[in-house]
């Protein structure tokens, strides 16, 4: 006999919309590890990563009504909340102060290839190491550090069109790597 309750994504969303704590507990128990992995790919400090994960789940609880199933799966939505919260954290002043050695300064133009979290053994980052440097930098800056294509073009002094094409081609390669 089935000893574990499993909810379909639809049922889970419905429970969350009713602010059902049991449904939320199920969500946490099933997805906190995966989302913590995402957070840890961006935020290196364990304590801060814990705080970010806490924010992520509180935001999922509060903002579930803004989840639109026609735009993607629930996990994708949560993943993007986790990624955005992590990026907000590493870009916030507090984080920079606590990470003085790796501080970037406010100016986007000072971005270099080596900045940002350097853990290469977590999740997508591990996959990323297989990309060519010129592509890896772009994914690192856009996905893991949240810079816009324009900011990257300016920082690396390459045309905007090239940034876009390279990111797309890097993503196509990433896709084949994770499948």
């Amino acid at each position: 006999m089935n000893t574990k309750i499993t909810y379909s994504e639809q049922e889970l969303v419905a429970l969350l919309r009713q602010r059902n704590e049991q449904g939320f507990a199920y969500l946490y128990d099933n997805y906190s590890g995966a989302l913590f992995g995402i957070v840890n790919g961006i935020v290196t400090d364990k304590e801060i990563a814990n705080d970010v994960l806490q924010n992520v789940f509180v935001n999922i609880w509060r903002k579930i009504d803004s989840y639109d199933a026609s735009k993607g799966r629930l996990f994708t939505w949560m993943l993007n909340i986790a990624r955005n919260a992590s990026i907000d954290e590493i870009r916030s002043k507090g984080f920079k102060d606590s990470q003085k050695n790796q501080s970037l300064g406010e100016n986007v133009d000072s971005i270099g290839v080596s900045i940002g979290p350097l853990v290469d053994d977590v999740g997508l980052r591990k996959v990323l190491t297989k990309l060519k440097d010129e592509l890896r930098v772009l994914i690192d800056m856009s996905y893991f550090q949240g810079f816009t294509h324009e900011e990257i073009a300016r920082a690396l002094d390459i045309p905007l069109g090239t940034v876009k094409t390279r990111i797309r081609s890097a993503l196509i390669q990433l896709r084949t790597m994770i499948q």
């Binding site: 574990k4 009713q18 602010r19 059902n20 509060r62 996905y143 797309r168 993503l171 896709r175």
Partner: protein
């Protein structure tokens, strides 16, 4: 650009990972509604990404879980009746009301018996024990926040019928309260069913007693999405599948 070229241009991945302008995102969403193959490619990448994230999961400390639940607890919406906080309050009210009725019912029952039966003391002792058993059950239910309730409303065969299932999601105990159901004919009896993924699972036969609001303890349910009671022939050879009429039914 053909649909295939569009799909393999990297737009799918850019959209899912949020590396796309708002304008491109809107365009992509329209493509998804117009072309099922675009939507399929998006879902496939989302699933691959989810799988990848699951494989690289890092278990956070229990402390984080506790803090989150501390922060969200009691913040449910007030407008929705189904929300857990309101339901919990209703449940406590209901449970205390029910225990009062149970107590009253049991005392009434005792007096009736005492008039008819010389063995007053004996019966009294029995019913006190029984009452304390029921009270204990109610206390278990009350003290346990993981207990879910399914209010089962009357179906076509008996629209005024009503019964309630309390299911403890941790211990998997199932309690049934028959609020209002007709007394079955002598050759028939009620049977409780749990529904798991649309399939009925036998939860046990119910021996209806004369006592009002009797709380019955039935078989344990590992998982269930809904419960129902059917009226069945007594001594049926195979009781693992329902054969009779549905009287009440309700979702958890």
């Amino acid at each position: 650009m053909s649909i295939q070229e569009y799909i393999s241009s990297g737009i799918v991945e850019s959209y899912v990972l949020g590396l796309i302008s708002d304008e491109e995102a809107r365009e992509f969403e329209q493509m998804c509604t117009k072309h099922p193959e675009v939507l399929a490619a998006r879902t496939a990448f989302e699933l691959a990404l989810e799988k990848q994230a699951m494989e690289n999961a890092i278990t956070p400390s229990l402390d984080v879980r506790n803090k989150i639940f501390e922060e969200i607890s009691g913040t449910g919406k007030v407008v929705t009746m189904q929300q857990p906080v309101a339901r919990k309050t209703n449940w406590f009210k209901y449970a205390s009301a029910a225990s009062v009725i149970l107590l009253a019912g049991s005392i009434y029952w005792n007096i009736m018996l005492s008039n008819k039966n010389k063995d007053l003391q004996n019966n009294y002792n029995n019913s006190v024990a029984e009452l304390s058993e029921i009270k204990k059950d109610i206390q278990v239910l009350q003290a346990n926040p993981t207990v879910k309730m399914a209010a089962m409303g009357g179906q076509e065969a008996s629209p005024t019928s009503f019964a309630t299932v309390y299911w403890d999601t941790t211990s998997h105990d199932v309690y049934l309260m028959v609020n209002n159901m007709p007394k079955p004919a002598s050759d028939k009896q009620y049977q409780l069913w749990a529904f798991l993924d649309g399939q009925p699972v036998d939860m046990g036969l119910i021996e209806i007693t004369e006592k009002p609001l009797q709380l019955y303890r039935l078989k344990k349910a590992q998982a269930a999405q809904a419960f129902a009671i059917t009226l069945e022939q007594k001594n049926r050879p195979d009781i693992s599948k329902p054969a009779g009429t549905v009287y009440v039914m309700g979702k958890l």
